[in-house]
Amino acid sequence: MRALRSPQRGSTTSPAFRVPRRAAIAITACALLATAACSSSGTGSSAAGTPLPSQASTAAAGSSPSSNAASPAVSSAAASAAPKVEVISAGKLSVAVQSDQFPFDFIQNGKEVGFSIDLMNEIAKRLELTPSYTTVSLDALLAGVPAKQYDIGAVGLSIKPDRQKVMAFSEPYYYGYYGIIAKKSAGITADSDFAGKTIALVSGSAQDTYAQQHYPKAKIKRFDSQPPAIVALEGGQVDAFFVGGPDTIKYLQQYSDLTLVSSIQTSTPNGFPMSLDAPGLVSAVNSALEAMYADGTYTTIYKKWFTEPLPPTLVKEHPVLANGAS
């Protein structure tokens, strides 16, 4: 049986054919669901082995299939073996964003833009869902996604073990880097261990930990936030500023007398957070990402936001990226 689809643009089925067939299946599915619901005690027929009940519960939930596979035979097998894509409301992907994280997700001209946003829009398209964005604080996001107030978060969020206890993550889609920026006129090179130099950084940041371990001979000047630190750099009060990679992009744009002295790859990956109760969604998102790596979509989006080469660790994990890397 052909995999069920909700009406989407780009669908190849003619409307006239689709509607009556859909109605018939829907009626049957409701009847079966009622029977299944009465007889099962748990949350649903998630362990169903036959196509019909799994499709029935899918139909009742109003979600779309997890794969765009074309051939009916493959799709039915895929539909029966593939997990459902669990979203809160049919046809929509509810995305939580922070809207203030350059370049991952931020507001430009009143619209939600960014690297994560572009990826998310592409993923939603491949999942045949309409993304809708809600701006929240980081705390609200970290609480709301596991609680299924939102389907997914589109922020540059590090995958950390203590976070993984309460929420699911997509596979890593980005590995960050730290950058050290300094005035061009200062003549600081990447080779130096910054002995005797004064480096500004934000107290308690990831860069703080890194610098303490790797630059013991440098003088670390700790600031409470980034703005005073960058001004101190411009004013000559410090020799260099050690900050997250994406932020260096922002500062290099704002100040023409600065240069990136060194960039350090981190091993902390970024992933999209989702609820632990939505394994189908997780799997679907991962498949979408894999497809995007393969067909070059990811690389195109990446190059739109970053001048740095693709994160080496990511390329190692997905060798297919290396093909479109230049």
Partner: protein
Amino acid sequence: MPTGLHNFFHTFFDLHQIANVMPDLLRDGLLNTLMISAAAIICGTTIGIVLATLLVSRRWYLRAPARVYVDIFRGLPIIVTVMMVGLGLPIAGLHFFGRNSYPYAVFALALVSGAYMSEIFRSGIQSVDRGQMEAARSLGLSYLGAMRLVIVPQGVRRVLPALTNQFVAMVKDSSLVYLLGLLASQRELFSIAKDTTFETGNLSALTAAGLVYLAITIPLTHAVNALDRRMREGGAVRLATTAGAPLQLLGAQEGR
């Protein structure tokens, strides 16, 4: 103990946490806080006295700029002033104090505190009896000389207790130096406490710092009061008057 109270004590009065952070506070933070506070108090008092003298001047071109200064530095949030001085001066190319955050912070705090204290000193100076100025001028002292030697010393002594607030404020505002960036050796009380709260997720370090601040400000208040008492006692005690005491004649020589 009710749950709410228990939570409160656990968050703010975890004795284990307080004991853990206290050595750092006392060893590193205390001295730094005292340094900044003392310097800011001294500089601020000086600025305050100078400003007060300008505020009481008869010449409008001395009074008006002083008034503007006081209005601005009393009205701006101290954070803004600290940033403008500590980051703004270097950006403008004026590296008065090199790269060290401390002198800039002290300067900014003194500018602000001087504005507040100038009003206190002004009222003190104006409360000095006119006769004092008249007597000083009658002896031939210049206006400035009379101010410096006779009026201001009296005016300052009178308002000493009222300055205590400013002194205490300086001690607490010394923590604002963190805005300008701190080297590891420069951590003062508040920044040590703040860093510890990030590490532990518990706020008891702030309580610990608070206790050390009290250990500075309470004795400071008592010291100011003691100083004030001592200066009052110097003049107030009246000995028994001797109305008919024999007088020596003017000029030891007789028959002139």
